[in-house]
């Protein structure tokens, strides 16, 4: 009578997704690779947030970590080297209804894609960026990357890297209109999950650097942090990454840090004695370019044509 079903449910049938619904091809990463932990955490996040696979897209560039789209059964775009961000921004501009995840590596993001990276931060379009940083080019068999630490030996620098490493966190914090910067470590999947969850819920460009081991080419590179929990500084705050007490027990070295405090975030990022993990900075009020590019999306073709003609009519003599 009222167009309502007898069970007065106006909503369509509820949908339910399991973790299997997000599993794509069998991962071809090396056994023990940190990418597995990130993939598992991301799939759990998608399941827990019940993201419809057809409303989710994973975009990547080139590299080990950029094989991500193959292993997640959502929409995916395995793009050009360094060009994950332009593709993701394009998707965001035309399809603001999608959940966008960007998987990129230290070479893909911080070397060849650095220019796109900076502007994507400034655009502040809503997406979750996972920078899987293993300090090495793994796919091409061990070459120095921008984040390789000084002295680190590789095929390109057999006597050790002569340059200081680029810090992606400080670099991101330094860009105008930055809105979300966090850091986590792959060997604690619970923290990875909590950080990705906070990033996904952020309305803007959420940049998460994930320190990630490469057991094949960079074995033991992060042992000092893995074996020495005191070398890791966990940032806690009511507005930060919310983690379980069981995780807090693993990291005895904690610090309360308000993510709204930019200066303190810069100071923490600059520390070399410890590896900070958690949410360093968040600005919920930063301008979002995708809200501007999405203007007029609801217009029909006829309305667009009419509006264009109206604009052109202004130039009639």
């Amino acid at each position: 009578m009222f167009g309502l079903k007898t069970d007065w449910a106006l909503e369509p049938r509820p949908r339910l997704f399991y973790i299997d619904d997000y599993e794509g091809a069998l991962p071809r990463w090396c056994a023990g690779c940190g990418d597995h932990a990130v993939l598992g955490s991301l799939q759990r996040l998608m399941r827990d947030e019940q993201l419809p696979p057809e409303k989710t897209v994973v975009v990547s560039g080139i590299g080990c970590s950029s094989r991500f789209p193959h292993y997640v059964s959502t929409y995916g775009f395995h793009g050009l080297h360094g060009r994950a961000f332009p593709v993701a921004c394009g998707v965001r501009s035309r399809r603001p209804d999608l959940n966008i995840f960007v998987a990129t590596g230290d070479g893909d993001c911080c070397a060849i894609g650095a220019g796109h990276w900076l502007h994507a931060i400034r655009y502040n379009m809503k997406m979750t960026v996972m920078l899987l940083d293993n300090n090495i080019y793994g796919l091409t068999k061990k070459q120095t990357s921008p984040t390789s630490r000084p002295g680190q030996k590789s095929n390109t620098h057999p006597r050790g890297n002569p340059l200081p490493a680029l810090d992606p966190v400080r670099a991101t914090l330094g860009i105008t209109n930055v809105s979300f910067v966090a850091q986590t470590v792959d060997w604690n999947p619970l923290h990875v999950y909590a950080t990705l969850q906070a990033a996904h819920r952020h309305n803007g460009f959420a940049f998460v650097r994930i320190i990630q081991r490469c057991p094949h080419f960079m074995d033991h590179a992060f042992d000092e942090f893995m074996r020495g929990p005191d070398k890791v500084l966990m940032l806690t705050h009511e507005n930060g990454v919310q983690v379980d007490d069981s995780i807090k027990r693993l990291f005895r070295n904690t610090m309360s840090h308000d993510p709204a405090n930019y200066d303190e975030a810069m100071d923490i990022a600059a520390r070399t004695d410890v590896l900070p993990i958690g949410l360093l900075y968040q600005n919920k009020d930063a301008v979002r370019y995708d809200q501007i590019t999405a203007a007029g999306m609801e217009m029909t073709s006829a309305e667009k044509l009419a509006a264009m003609n109206k604009e052109l009519d202004r130039f009639l003599i």
């Binding site: 369509p12 339910l16 997704f17 399991y18 299997d20 932990a37 598992g40 999947p189 619970l190």
Partner: protein, 785 residues
């Protein structure tokens, strides 16, 4: 849902027509519209998950257990299953659907069924109602079967229907009376046994039965045992009863045995109903009795029960005294005659079967209110359970028949409960309280029956929220004053006169306030239909006022309206006639009266508080003014005297200058002892005299023999599953656990632990007979214990 755009300037003729419709009910000047009920906008979105968490159906897990809302019960079961390691996370999210499907099936069929039956019925539609992938559907089905397997098989589910009230009432009375009856029967059984033993001993003594074996076979030839027994002095054997006492004891035993034999057939609860009534059809037939006039029959039945109970009570008292050898005929015979149930303990009074009269409101009125009054004034613990119809056709311009709960309130020593199936927890709690009271009680419950135009559950909730079927309870045992006896708990937001919800709609960012009022119910009532008129969208600029706002400060020029919703989800304004406004106001006033009685909002108390506050303010203001005046006077006096005082002092100083002593050096500051103590160096905390030595570390940490994983820390790297895919498997979170420790060797376990990047594998100790557990391997394994 959206709000249509505002229209043009109002058409003066339409304004006049709307006002005429409101004042005189004339609608011919208004544009025609289709007949049929309108959908109240507030009805949308009432059935959220929170509703199901506190609503029907109810689950009774077992005998003596209180009913629990089904959604909560299933959620607790799912949580327990998850804790036990079962994977039921997906079905846990969909339990609202399950509950809804169960509620619909029960309403359409039996009202009550066993939990396995309900789950089987629901499984026919679930998980088909959930949209999943094919893999997800298989998983969901597996989870469903897992959860189904953990549920108790003897649990019962009670849904919304005609039988909801009878079933809940029966459970409440049974739970109260059954333990008391069983305890009393046990005592009667024990007393009867003891009396029987006493009489057997008495018979033996008198008959010389005990003397014969004592004398032996040889003596029996020349000594008569009876004569021998009779010749013995009384002090050497059991004291014999006098014939009168023996007769009393025999009668008491007979009475107790008759009672025991009779009680096997007597149910714990006796339900009386009108002949031919279908109410209570689901109750056991052994406890239901049909009568032409059940209220009168209940009184007679109770009186008969009391007559018999008095005899049993005397028999028990006599038995106790006789067994203790303390019965004194001179004293106790008189007392026994006066003994009746009023002197019994509460446990003995509850041992009587509960008497419940089960009727509809119409049946009670047909039998006559004098019959009800007879029950309520009779001091008999007869509980009258009334199922009052509450359907759209009962919302009528002629008004509803007077509520029987209101009538019962007039008998101030009666327990009264007004409830609704929309709040079954309040109803159940009230019924259980009533079951524990030994006084007359009336329970009046609104039970909807029709499924159209709204489902019964939704209609019941709407009527409850609109205060048309409010809940209240009057319990004379709770205290002496109205404030202690009467409460309106169990109503949604009792502090509000009109409950309203904010609904998000397109075009109105702040949302629209949709009140749940009598007007919302009137939209669905055919009798009120001609008092309501949908106003075309384009004429919304006519001066209107929302009904519940208009009540506060009524502007006669503005016509009240309420919100309806169209098929396409668009809100409509529906103007109301004056008659409907009056009916709505009557409900609001009735609700205000109830709130005042319940002490939620009492206008008298408010006025008293305001008066007290005003008095206190006035008093403090007067005090302040008086202080100010006194201060001003004092200040003026000081000013006037200050000059002369100063001059006098100066003259005195000048005159005595030569004799003035030299100013004394300022006294050295002496620190107060307390200050010294405070500034002293902090004393080191005293060492406890007998400082307990820390407990020695456990001799050996209790290490589990079996291997295990900290699955939450697993990084899903596939190392262990590559080593042995049968030993290590992934759980629902895609994190590894040891599925079968016997599926591989200890060497594989240790190898997996060494490879694991998160070190979450703990190898335990090797199984007996595992040849791979060499000393070298055990040394390696130590790091992963």
């Amino acid at each position: 849902m959206r709000v249509p755009p505002a229209g043009n300037a109002p058409d003066p003729s339409l304004v006049a027509a709307v006002r005429l419709f409101h004042a005189a009910g004339r609608s011919q000047d208004l544009p025609p519209e289709a007949d049929g009920p309108l959908m109240p906008a507030v009805a949308l979105g009432l059935m959220d998950a929170e509703h199901w968490r506190a609503s029907l159906p109810l689950v009774v897990a077992g005998p003596g257990q209180e009913p629990v809302p089904m959604l909560r019960f299933l959620e607790a079961a799912a949580d327990a299953a998850i804790k036990a390691g079962h994977s039921v996370g997906g079905v846990r999210q969909m339990l609202t659907l399950v509950t809804r499907a169960a509620g619909e099936w029960l309403t359409g069929n039996n009202t009550a069924a066993t939990l396995p039956q309900v789950m089987d019925q629901v499984s026919r539609v679930f998980p088909g109602q959930v949209d999943t992938t094919s893999k997800g559907a298989v998983k969901l089905r597996d989870e469903w079967n897992t959860l189904r397997g953990t549920l108790p098989v003897d649990a019962r589910v009670i849904g919304l229907g005609d039988e909801t009230l009878p079933l809940l009432a029966l459970l409440a009375e049974q739970d109260r009376h059954r333990p008391a009856r069983q305890a009393f029967l046990q005592e009667v059984r024990s007393l009867a046994r003891s009396l029987s033993d006493l009489l057997r001993a008495e018979r033996a003594r008198n008959g010389g039965d005990q003397a014969a074996p004592s004398l032996g076979a040889l003596a029996a030839d020349f000594v008569d045992p009876k004569a021998f027994a009779a010749a013995q002095p009384a002090a050497r054997g059991p004291v014999g009863m006098d014939p009168a006492q023996r007769s009393r004891v025999e009668k008491a035993l007979q009475r107790l045995e008759e009672h025991l034999a009779a009680q096997e057939k007597v149910p714990d609860v006796m339900v009386l109903r009108v002949q031919g009534s279908t109410l209570g059809a689901s109750l056991p037939q052994s406890c239901v009795q049909d009568h032409a006039r059940p209220l009168a029959a209940a009184q007679k039945l109770y009186d008969d029960l009391v007559t018999k109970a008095n005899e049993v009570l005397r028999a028990t008292r006599l038995a106790r005294l006789a067994l203790a050898g303390q019965y004194e005929p001179g004293r106790h015979d008189v007392l026994m005659e006066q003994l009746d149930l009023s002197t019994a303990t509460s446990g003995e009074r509850f041992a009587l079967p509960a008497i419940v009269v089960l009727e509809t409101g119409e049946q009670v009125r047909a039998e006559g209110l004098d019959a009800l009054a007879g029950v309520l004034t009779g001091q008999r613990p007869i509980h009258v359970i009334v199922s009052e119809a509450c359907n759209p056709e009962d919302i009528h311009p002629a008004g509803r028949p007077g509520s029987l709960a209101d009538v019962a309130l007039a008998y101030r020593e009666t327990f009264v409960l007004a409830g609704t199936v929309a709040n079954p927890q309040h109803l159940d709690a009230g019924l259980r309280t009533l079951a524990s009271r030994l006084r007359p009680g009336v329970v009046v419950v609104a039970v909807p029956k029709t499924q159209a135009p709204l489902p019964a559950a939704l209609w019941a909730r709407l009527a409850w929220e609109a205060r048309v079927t409010p809940c209240f309870r009057h319990d004379p045992d709770a205290g002496d004053t109205w404030a202690q006896r009467f409460d309106v708990e169990g109503n949604p937001a009792p502090e509000q006169a009109v409950l309203s919800r904010t609904h998000k709609v397109d075009g109105a960012p702040a949302g629209v306030e949709l009140p749940a009022s009598y007007a919302a119910l009137a939209l669905l009532s055919p009798a009120w239909r001609k008092h309501l008129r949908v106003l075309p969208e384009l004429q919304w600029d006519v001066e209107l006022v929302e009904f519940h706002q208009g009540m506060v400060n009524r502007d006669e020029r503005r016509v009240p309206f309420t919100w309806a919703v169209q098929d396409n989800g668009t809100l409509q304004r529906v103007v109301m006639s004056n008659a409907l406004c009056v009916a709505c106001q009557e409900r609001v006033q009735a609700w205000r009266l109830l709130r005042e009685l319940g002490g939620v909002e009492n206008s008298h108390a408010k006025r008293a508080v305001e008066a007290a506050l005003a008095g206190a303010r006035q008093e403090s203001e007067q005090g302040r003014k008086a202080d100010q005046q006194a201060h001003a006077v004092e200040l003026e006096a000081l000013r006037q005297n200050a000059a002369s005082d100063t001059l006098d002092r100066l003259v005195a100083v000048l005159l005595n200058m030569e004799s003035m002593p030299a100013p004394a050096p300022s006294a050295p500051r002496v620190e107060a002892p307390a200050a010294k103590a405070a500034t002293a160096a902090p004393v080191a905390p005293a060492t406890p005299a007998a400082s307990p030595t820390p407990p020695p570390p456990a001799a050996a940490a209790a290490v589990s023999e079996d291997p295990y994983t900290d699955s939450a820390l697993c990084t899903t790297c596939n190392e262990c599953t590559h080593i042995n895919g049968r030993m290590f498997k992934y759980n629902a979170n895609k994190q590894a656990y040891i599925a079968d420790a016997t599926a591989g060797t200890y060497a594989e376990l240790v190898k997996a632990a060494e490879k694991c990047p998160s070190r979450c594998i703990h190898v335990g100790t090797p199984r007996a007979g595992d040849t791979t557990a060499t000393p070298e391997l055990l040394t390696r394994a130590k790091a992963f214990m």
